[in-house]
């Protein structure tokens, strides 16, 4: 057998192999990798719970909150994510922020902020907001 025939057969074998793999056997074309990724993506852990989970322990606060002005604001909007708190159930694992800045994140007067009631930065200066306003009511 002449050597160039060997080279030709080898080249065709490589070409055919790559072709068949790329268009028939690769995980991409079989969508295996996509299914794998869908499983990885949907099994990721969550950090933010829903407010209905807070109800399990904090029933009294929850009832106050549903009747109050902030009823459209979810618990974790102010208290930060609750995945750790649900696990450890300690007061250090959830954010309880009573500073002025915490309220002024939303309620400070800013150009274009028309949807909610806002106050100037000097409103009741020096006094913590929660002395007069109960955020859960």
């Amino acid at each position: 057998m002449k050597p160039w025939i060997l080279v030709l057969i080898l080249a065709i074998a490589v070409y055919g192999g790559v072709f068949v793999y790329t268009f028939n056997l690769s995980p991409m074309i079989k969508e295996q990798s996509i299914e794998n990724w869908l499983q990885i993506e949907s099994s990721k852990s969550i950090s933010y719970m829903e407010s209905s989970i807070c109800r399990e322990c904090h029933l009294k606060l929850y009832k106050n909150w549903t009747m109050g002005n902030h009823s459209s604001v979810e618990c974790e909007s102010c208290h930060d994510y609750g995945a750790e708190h649900v696990k450890f159930r300690s007061s250090s694992s959830i954010l309880v922020e009573k500073s002025r800045d915490s309220c002024l994140v939303c309620h400070r007067e800013v150009t274009g902020r028309d949807a909610i009631k806002s106050v100037s930065y000097d409103h009741g200066s020096g006094v913590i907001c929660t002395y007069c306003h109960d955020p859960h009511r």
Partner: protein, 226 residues
């Protein structure tokens, strides 16, 4: 076998295999988000919540969802914990929250050379991070600038509509924490809240001229934003 017959047989194998390339499955229902620009107050809770939920570095000056503030035509972007809108002095201002638009005709899915980007059957555009090679074609292709490189993983990252939450029947993190309810997220089918709102009110999408068919709809957006 003569050489000619041999070549005929060998060369016809790849051609025959071409005919059996599978067709990508059809999409049925899809998720959609409505963003009410009038209700957004630019507090940035969605940006922080998104970064915590999806473990994007908090200090990274780019995010999966971000807020653009337009003050007398000047654009200011919030994508970290610090709120740049607090000390802006202007006559008129609006806040436009932005995220991946999960286009039906997504440019990033079309250009991806390794097929790492795909539509799920719910119409969500996802990145397969095990297949992605980080070539950044999608960053160039996306007309909304919603894709970026995650410096920790060295591959592209973008909003997933919180796919892991949606699968557990929870709302996405940005929708959950929004204090004014500026974002509404639901399945886009007859009878759902999103469907009714879109039927009744005038809505707009970002950059309709690009023909991407976005699934994020904006209400009360009375100016053209970049």
């Amino acid at each position: 076998m003569r050489r000619r017959d041999f070549l005929k047989v060998v060369l016809s194998i790849p051609l025959a295999s071409l005919a059996s390339v599978p067709v990508i499955a059809e999409k049925k229902s899809s998720f959609a988000m409505i963003v009410d620009v009038k209700k957004c107050i630019g507090c940035g809770k969605c940006v922080i919540a998104c970064k915590i939920e999806n473990s994007v570095p908090m200090d990274l000056p780019i995010s999966r969802t971000w807020i653009e503030g337009y003050f007398d035509g000047k654009k200011i972007v919030m994508n970290t914990k610090e709120n740049p809108f607090l000390n802006v002095k202007a006559e008129k201002g609006i806040f436009v929250p932005k995220l991946c638009n999960h286009c039906s005709n997504a440019p990033c899915v079309n250009v991806c050379p390794v097929g790492a980007r795909f539509h799920t059957k719910e119409g969500v555009v996802l990145v397969d991070k095990e297949t992605c090679i980080g070539c950044k074609y999608c960053i160039v292709a996306c007309p909304y600038g919603a894709t970026f490189v995650n410096p920790e993983e060295k591959i592209t990252d973008k909003c997933t509509f919180c796919y892991h939450r949606v699968k557990r029947n929870l709302r996405p993190a940005c929708v959950l924490v929004c204090p004014t309810g500026a974002r509404i997220f639901e399945e886009l089918r007859e009878g759902s809240e999103v469907y009714e709102i879109l039927k009744k009110s005038r809505y707009s999408v970002l950059k309709p001229e690009t023909g991407t068919n976005p699934k994020v709809f904006y209400l009360n957006l009375d100016m053209v934003v970049e």
